[in-house]
Amino acid sequence: MDIEKPSNKTAGKPIQCRAAIATAPGEPLVIDEVIVDPPNSHEVRVRIICTSLCHSDVTFWKMKDFPAVFPRILGHEAIGVVESVGENVDGVVEGDVVIPHFLADCTECVGCRSKKGNLCSAFPFKISPWMPRDQTSRFKDLRGETIHHFVSVSSFSEYTVLDIAHVVKVDPTVPPNRACLLSCGVSTGVGAAWRTANVEVGSTVVIFGLGSIGLAVAEGARLCGATRIIGVDVISEKFEIGKRFGVTEFVNSKNCGDKSIIIDMTDGGADYCFECVGLASLVQEAYACCRKGWGKTIVLGVDQPGSQLSLSSFEVLHSGKILMGSLFGGLKAKSDIPILLKRYMDKELELDKFVTHEMKFEEINSAFDLLIKGKCLRCVIWMGE
């Protein structure tokens, strides 16, 4: 069972390869052989070069109830090479280097054509266990049991199948262990500052949660010319790390516990507050810390399904503050990922500092440990030989 050959002997056939499978909530992933079907119409099969772990993978790995399902191949931040294409695929051919993106960009529907938003209406975002077009799976274990997909990507596998609406072709000379970051986390944070909030030169920005997303927001705010980027976290070490990403001041919310510190230090509140953790209560704190009149609070973190944000209607009316949220930083993947890649190649956008660990596929569970303990930003996992 050769995994690949330069002349494509595997096109049209199932491929047997290794995948890291989530079998039960919170249990270490099991690396095992799987069968990956050839791509259907509008699909491409991709050999993953490298993938990185994002906190959203951890969220759905730990979760016991729907939309968590098992067994499942997680992973959604990655870069790969197209092994073969199905029918009706334009613009991408075998051998192309591509980045998968969990947020669809079909480029044709009302949502994709609108300049105002980035949500595809043809393939609306959901935590689906299937391929988006026909609700079936391309993965099976060796006993023939179905293995589920994750947000139309499933990158913790040597091969995966992607719908063309979830794939963007990129410059093949980009370093893969940097480019893969743009498939989710860094794009989300940079995009949030750049596109969702539209941070302008001279702004004061407060970021709640200095994980990779929060630090990517800082990076984005820095590129947009923000003058003050205040980082809020409960771990003091994050300040030293944050400085490399443009964080100018730090507030340890465990020590102060009182949002008036932020309001005082910003003389009335920040122009932009970003919530990058995923807690409704923290969104409320962020809202309280942004300035009346024009302050914008941007929600990026994903809380539990069904969670509600509660705001005082008096405060909403009197303050004139704006509350908004976005997925994938408000970016349209197919146009914006290449733009961000170019900015990296032009040495404006810094990606190297996000990668704190690199490891082999077999070590994937240690990436989970590191992230859960808060001891890493991005762990890049190299697949294949």
Partner: protein
């Protein structure tokens, strides 16, 4: 101590400058009970203040909310309500140069000092000159200018208090207006209609081809409709429990009507999502009920749907938003006075009216004399009026 002067008419207005004026006012003493016409004393304006002879005033539902409240901070009694009005400057306090005796002015609940960081920014209209505004006394020094004949303080409302022959207003809340405009139309611009137009134009920035949903078709909701219509919105969906509002609404651009009582098993937001293929581009809440604010949010389209809150919540209930729906590209904001800066934007609206670009006449559905002011409350509560103008002094 200034001497008291009973003003029966204003033949010699300037002779009252610097003196206490005795006049009539409609006072709210008990929550929800009819206003009582009484004689009061109105102190002369202090530094930075303007005393205004009110010509006419109109009733806004926010007055009703304050009138009915039994809990602080909204419940304050005895109080002179009213904040939508037009009048003539009777005298000014020290340091006031931008208006003078005889000027036609609108008192406005939204301040505009022109100097603070908010007033200087194009992005905000929430003047921050006076931080301790308590919505019952003068903003500059926290004292009151009204007393009843027993000497008891009567509180004001929203820095205006217009249900009186004379009121005292801080100069940051006074806007000169052209005398070319009919008085009853002028007074609409001091709150409700400006709020709705501003919300559509400045806060939401409704563009041509948009789909808009408006919850509550009172004067504010209908001004949003008028604003959206002028901007070229293609669908303007009105939501109201009163079926008569549809006919009224058509005059202001409403294209579709939903009565929540007749939606059957479906929620209003489900109906709106179905009829708009996903939700409206802009949703406006113009009533003041958290449950309706939630409905408005749920009726907005994912990707870019914007919800604008204009209503003053009547019971202090919080707004509750689903976190995932916010993540899907939606935004929510509230607005006072439609994001407009009173001293620059009211004149623009007045000119648009005079140039016949803005249709405001249809907002005035009733007129009463000052002594029949309680009828204005009845008409509004019965859903029979949009704006009822209360004439205090018909001269001019």
């Amino acid at each position: 101590m200034p001497s008291s002067e009973l003003v029966m008419d204003n033949k010699n207005a300037s002779s009252t400058a610097g003196k206490i004026i005795r006049c009539r006012a409609a006072i709210s003493r008990i929550p929800g009970k009819p206003l009582v016409m009484e004689e009061i004393e109105v102190d002369p304006p202090k530094a930075g203040e303007v005393r205004i002879k009110i010509l006419c005033t109109s009733l806004c539902h926010s007055d009703v909310t304050f009138w009915r409240s039994t809990q602080p901070p909204m419940a304050v009694f005895p109080r002179i309500l009213g904040h939508e009005a037009v009048g003539v400057v009777e005298s000014v306090g020290g340091g006031v140069e931008e208006v003078r005796e005889g000027d036609l002015v609108l008192p406005v609940f939204q301040g505009d000092c022109g100097e603070c960081r908010d007033c200087k920014s194009p992005k905000s209209n929430i003047c921050s000159k006076f931080v301790n505004k308590d919505n019952q006394s003068m903003p500059r020094d926290g004292t009151n200018r009204f007393r009843d004949l027993k000497g008891e303080v009567i509180h004001n409302v929203l820095n205006v208090s217009s249900f009186t022959q004379y009121t005292v207003v801080d100069v940051t809340h006074v806007v000169k207006i052209t005398p070319d405009i009919p008085l009853d139309i002028a007074c609409l611009l001091s709150c409700g209609v400006s709020t709705g137009l501003g919300a559509a134009w400045k806060v939401a920035e409704v563009e041509e081809g948009s789909t808009v949903a408006i919850f509550g078709l009172g004067a504010v909701g209908l001004s949003v409709a008028e604003g959206a219509r002028i901007r070229g919105a293609t669908r303007i969906i009105g939501v109201d429990l009163n079926p008569e509002k549809f006919e009224t609404g058509k005059k202001f651009g409403i294209t579709d009507f939903i009565n929540p009582a007749t939606c059957g098993d479906k929620t209003v937001s489900q109906v709106i999502k179905e009829m708009t293929d996903g939700g409206a581009d802009y949703c406006f809440e113009c009533i003041g009920l958290a449950s309706v604010m939630n409905d408005a949010f749920n009726s907005s389209r994912e990707g870019w749907g914007k919800t604008v809150i204009l209503g003053v919540e009547m019971h202090g209930s919080p707004i509750s938003l689903n976190s995932i729906e916010i993540l899907k590209g939606r935004s929510v904001c509230g607005t006072f006075f439609g994001g407009l800066k009173p001293k620059s934007d009211i004149a623009t609206l007045a000119q648009k009216y005079l140039d016949k670009e803005l249709n405001l006449d249809e907002f005035i559905t009733h007129e009463v004399s000052f002594h029949d002011i309680n009828k204005a409350f009845d008409l509004l509560l019965e859903g029979k009026s949009l704006r009822c103008v209360i004439w205090i002094d018909k001269q001019n």
